[in-house]
C-alpha cells in the first residue's frame, strides 16, 4: 500500500454565506493553493444533500465544470453528516491503491437559505422512517440520549453547558469559525428550548461552508496513518446502549489498529459535537475516558486548549458551525494546522491527531488519525 500524505489544505469561513455552493467550494480550493497550481488525477466531492438544500444534483460534474477541472474523474460522496470524511476516506483509498498519485477532496454544504422548519425536515430524513413519523428530529434523539445520560451518570445541566462554553472560547481564536464570541453558562441555560433538556446553545448551527484537501503519494510533513469506519442501526430503538455508541467505538478501534496507536497516544482531537452531550460521550467512546468520566474531564479543563488532551480546538461543530457535508473535512483541516504548527492563537503541542465524524444519528462514523512525519 502506498503511503498517503496531505499537501495543501484550505477552507472558507463558515456561517450564513451569500455565495452559491459551487462558489464556496471554489473559495476553499483557491484558499488551499499555497504555491504553484497543483496537479491532481481526480476530484472527490463530499456533500450530503445538494438536491434538497440548493436544488442541484450531479454535483461532481457541476464542481469540475465550475472550477475548470473538466475531464478529470469526479464523484460525489454522500454519507450523511459524515460526507466530508467519507470523501476523504475514498480519496485515501484511491491513492493508497496506487491508482492515483494526487487527488483533490472538496467538501461543502449550503443550508442557510431555507427556513429552519424546512431544514429541520430535511435533516430529519436521516432518521429511521418509523421514528421520524413521530416528528422526532436530530435534536430530539440527542435530548433522549442526554436525559438518559444524566440519569445514569448524574450529569448536571450546568455541567453540560460547559461543553458549549469551552467550544465557543476556542471559536473566538479561529478566524474560520461561524461564532467568534464567548458565551456563558447562564446564556446557554437561558437560550431557547429546542428539545428538553437541550437548548439552542446545546446544538450546532445551520451553516454554509466548504473545505479542500489535497492527498498525495509524495511524502509531506503529515501522513494519514489510520482510518476506521463503522455503522450501527439506523433506528435508536435497536441500539443496546443509549449513552454510548458502537459506531464510534468500532470505527476508533479500526483506526487505532491501522495506525498502531492507542487512545493515550493522541495529542489533539476534533470530535463531532453536533450536540453538547456528544462532547462528553464521544471522548468516552474514543477510549480517552471511561464511561461517565467524559464530564469530569470537561469540567476539570482536561479537554481545553491548555489541557492534557485538547478537544475541538477549532471550536467544534458548536462554534465553527456545521455545514453538514463540510464538517468532516473541516476537522481534517484543523488537525493538519495543529500538526503543522499553523493554528495560530489556538495552537497546541501535537504530533498525532484524531478526527471523529458522525453520519446520521451516530450510526455511520469515521475516525481518522494523522501524524507528523
Amino acid at each position: 500500500m502506498a503511503g498517503v500524505y496531505i499537501s495543501d489544505i484550505g477552507m472558507t469561513k463558515f456561517g450564513r454565506r451569500k455565495e452559491s455552493l459551487q462558489n464556496l467550494m471554489y473559495e476553499a480550493y483557491a484558499n488551499s493553493i499555497s504555491g504553484q497550481e497543483p496537479q491532481f488525477d481526480a476530484v472527490f466531492v463530499g456533500c450530503m444533500n445538494p438536491d434538497e438544500f440548493v436544488g442541484d444534483s450531479n454535483l461532481a460534474t457541476l464542481i469540475v465544470d465550475h472550477l475548470g477541472l473538466y475531464q478529470k474523474p469526479s464523484v460525489r460522496i454522500d454519507n450523511a453528516p459524515a460526507s466530508g470524511s467519507a470523501a476523504f476516506e475514498q480519496a485515501f483509498f484511491s491513492v493508497a491503491s496506487g491508482h492515483y498519485k494526487n487527488v483533490l477532496v472538496l467538501a461543502g454544504e449550503k443550508m442557510s437559505n431555507l427556513p429552519t422548519t424546512k431544514t429541520t425536515r430535511i435533516l430529519s430524513k436521516l432518521i429511521d422512517k418509523y421514528e421520524r413519523s413521530t416528528g422526532a428530529t436530530m435534536p430530539a434523539l440527542a435530548a433522549l440520549v442526554t436525559r438518559r445520560y444524566m440519569h445514569e451518570y448524574g450529569l448536571g445541566r450546568e455541567e453540560l453547558a460547559q461543553a458549549a462554553v469551552k467550544n465557543h472560547h476556542n471559536g473566538t481564536l479561529n478566524p474560520y469559525a461561524q461564532f467568534q464570541k464567548e458565551i456563558t453558562v447562564e446564556e446557554v441555560l437561558k437560550s431557547k428550548m429546542i428539545s428538553d433538556p437541550l437548548r439552542l446553545y446545546d446544538c450546532a448551527s445551520i451553516s454554509d461552508g466548504a473545505c479542500a484537501v489535497i492527498l498525495t503519494s509524495n511524502k509531506t510533513d503529515v501522513k494519514v496513518t489510520g482510518i476506521g469506519h463503522a455503522t450501527d442501526f439506523l433506528s435508536l430503538q435497536y441500539r443496546d446502549s443509549l449513552t454510548s455508541f458502537n459506531a464510534t467505538k468500532i470505527a476508533a478501534k479500526r483506526a487505532y489498529e491501522m495506525a498502531k496507536k492507542k487512545p493515550k497516544d493522541i495529542d489533539v482531537a476534533e470530535v463531532h459535537d453536533a450536540f453538547t452531550i456528544l462532547e462528553i460521550v464521544n471522548p468516552e467512546d474514543l477510549g480517552f475516558y471511561k464511561p461517565g468520566e467524559g464530564v469530569t474531564a470537561l469540567i476539570n479543563g482536561k479537554t481545553e486548549l491548555s489541557g492534557e488532551l485538547p478537544i475541538n480546538t477549532s471550536g467544534g461543530l458548536k462554534a465553527r458551525g456545521h455545514p453538514v457535508g463540510a464538517t468532516g473535512l473541516a476537522q481534517i483541516c484543523e488537525i493538519v494546522w495543529q500538526l503543522r504548527g499553523e493554528a495560530e492563537k489556538r495552537q497546541v503541542k501535537a504530533n498525532i491527531g484524531l478526527c471523529h465524524n458522525i453520519g446520521g444519528f451516530v450510526n455511520n462514523n469515521i475516525v481518522t488519525i494523522l501524524e507528523n512525519c
Partner: protein, 97 residues
C-alpha cells in the same frame, strides 16, 4: 401489541421482516402492552408539517424491545415510570399508570 422475534433470540418492536441483528426472517408475536419509560423529551422545534410541542417517550416493552412513542402530555413522565402503550390515530402513545 406486536413485536418481531428472530431465531437468534433478538426481539424488536412492531413488524419487521428481516432481523436487524442477523438478517434472518423474523416472526411476528402478540403480547401485552406493558411498558417502562427509558427516557423522554418535549420537542419544541418540530419539522415542517408537525405541530409543537411533541412529547416523545422511548419505552422498554415487557419483552425488552424498545419503542419510540408519544405521550399526550408531559405530566408525570419520569425515567422508570411504568405504564402501557396504546395505538390511537395511527400512533403509539405511552400512558402512565
Amino acid at each position: 401489541m406486536k413485536s418481531s422475534i428472530c431465531k437468534c433470540g433478538k426481539i424488536v418492536a412492531l413488524n419487521r421482516k428481516l432481523c436487524p441483528y442477523c438478517g434472518k426472517p423474523m416472526t411476528t408475536i402478540e403480547h401485552e402492552n406493558e411498558a417502562e419509560v427509558l427516557t423522554y423529551t418535549t420537542l419544541f422545534t418540530v419539522p415542517e408539517g408537525f405541530n409543537a410541542p411533541i412529547f416523545l417517550v422511548l419505552v422498554k416493552l415487557e419483552n425488552g424491545a424498545k419503542l419510540l412513542c408519544e405521550s399526550k402530555n408531559e405530566n408525570n413522565l419520569r425515567i422508570g415510570k411504568k405504564g402501557r402503550v396504546i395505538f390511537e390515530n395511527k400512533k403509539y402513545y405511552f400512558v402512565g399508570k
